[in-house]
């Protein structure tokens, strides 16, 4: 199972959701944001996704261990330029074949780097911001996912300060997928930087329960 975590706009907290879903799904998280690496890369040495996409490294060797295993992205402009997206399919499939479920943290926008992971993935999950105008952006990504045959399994409205104020069922109707409202929580916000997924460090919290609810919507097998 390869799950793409996407969201039209930058800054919605997509990476944080992808990382925490990785913990809940016992998956490897792949940082496919080729131009801006977001996920922890360990001590920064060793092959990364740029290397795998340029054909220089075996994808499975690029996976770093940790509370959530991560296949990090490279951090150079030259590496981003040399990345061949057509290899992403094989890269993701070989990680899946040896390590099990894969969560792909997709970049924002609608360029090829956002589209290809959607085309490869078996399912996708959209992360949206609670701001009203951000929904239009989410709908555009939803349209792209549909074009590329990535079935939308769930949506997460992220960083919500007042959960009661979010029209979750209206958003679910618009996107055509069950939608969970993720409360703003400092433990979630620092979970990537400190490598402490909320389902591990605060399993009783509301935010951990929401992450588990999202994870439950992802089919384990197809």
């Amino acid at each position: 199972m390869i799950l793409a975590v996407a969201g039209g706009k930058g800054g919605v907290g997509k990476t944080t959701i992808a990382y925490n879903l990785g913990a809940a799904l016992d998956a490897v998280v792949v940082d496919a944001d080729l131009g801006m690496a977001d996920l922890p890369a360990g001590n920064g040495t060793g092959p990364d996704l740029h290397d795998a996409l340029a054909g220089r490294a075996d994808p499975v060797e690029c996976v770093r261990g940790g509370p959530v295993p991560v296949l990090p992205c490279g951090r150079s402009l030259a590496g981003a330029r040399a990345s061949d997206l057509r290899r992403l399919d094989d890269v993701l499939r070989s990680v899946e074949a040896t390590r099990g479920p894969v969560v792909v943290d997709c970049p924002a926008g609608r360029r090829a780097d956002a589209g290809v992971p959607l085309a490869v993935a078996d399912a996708c999950l959209l992360v949206v911001s609670p701001r009203r105008f951000a929904l239009a952006d989410a709908l555009r990504t939803r349209a792209l996912a549909r074009e590329l045959d990535a079935g939308l399994v769930a949506a997460a409205v992220n960083r919500v300060v007042e959960p009661g104020s979010v029209p979750a069922s209206a958003i679910a109707d618009a996107l055509g997928a069950p939608t969970d409202v993720v409360p703003a929580d400092p433990r979630l916000r620092r979970s990537v930087r400190t490598e402490s997924p909320v389902v591990d460090v605060s399993p009783e919290s509301g935010v951990a329960s929401t992450v588990r609810s999202l994870a439950a919507r992802v089919p384990r097998k197809l």
Partner: protein, 283 residues
Amino acid sequence: MELSWTHDRRDGVDLIRCRLVNDAGVPRRVRLENRLGGPVLPPRRRGVPEQGWDADGVTVRLPPHSTRALGYACVVVESDQSQGSGQEAENAEPPVEIASVERAADGPPDGAVSGDPPHQVAGESAVRSAVRSLGDHRPPRAVVDAAGGGSGPAAVEEPPPEPAEAPPRDVDSAPDPSPTETVPNPSPADPVPDPSPAEPAAVDAWLDAVERRVERAERLDGADVEAATEVLVAAGGLDAVADLDRRLERDADRLRAVAERAASLAARTEDPTVPTGALERLS
């Protein structure tokens, strides 16, 4: 449906150029097939064959009263080289023919324009259609070269530090190097200068500074009190972010201007071939 064609051979490769004219008042779909003895090498976009092309030819849709020009290459593997390599390929037989013409459904023309949602050709994988029809994600070559990047993990630039961890930097009040002052602008009379070591690093530093400002703004956008406080503390207080909006607007304008210039320079640098061999022979 009218077809006219030209056939050239260069360096062992056949180049066939076609022109189709649909003079009917209805849209029609045409199948052109290659008659030369080798597979069609179609036009490609970022490595993926353009829509409608396959190893034997191309299927295109022409709107009513329209003309379409297209071309392809072919490497002819002929068992008898009776034509001789120096001769023009003026056979009695045409290299390309119309195999079929039929009425097409009304609707948008074939051939996705970049920006349109990708519509897949039957048999084409979703990945290839995404690569072909969505925008190129790669940083322009000019920016990569200016940043001094070689390929490989050895060429590394430090990731922008997290605002909460780095010592508060005076990012917003530091003067930016203006891109027009930084990027070398050789006059036609000068020999092409190597960019001095200071200049790629300056472009890099400018992009890093813009990225930090954007990240700061993204973290403040819709943040709760605790998150906003964290960002302000790292930035060095309210004054440091007071004119963030204005600076970002200016950043956006500059980035667009540089991106346009870099993209057109990149296209130009890919085009000319320096005839080093010929120059050496003549010198």
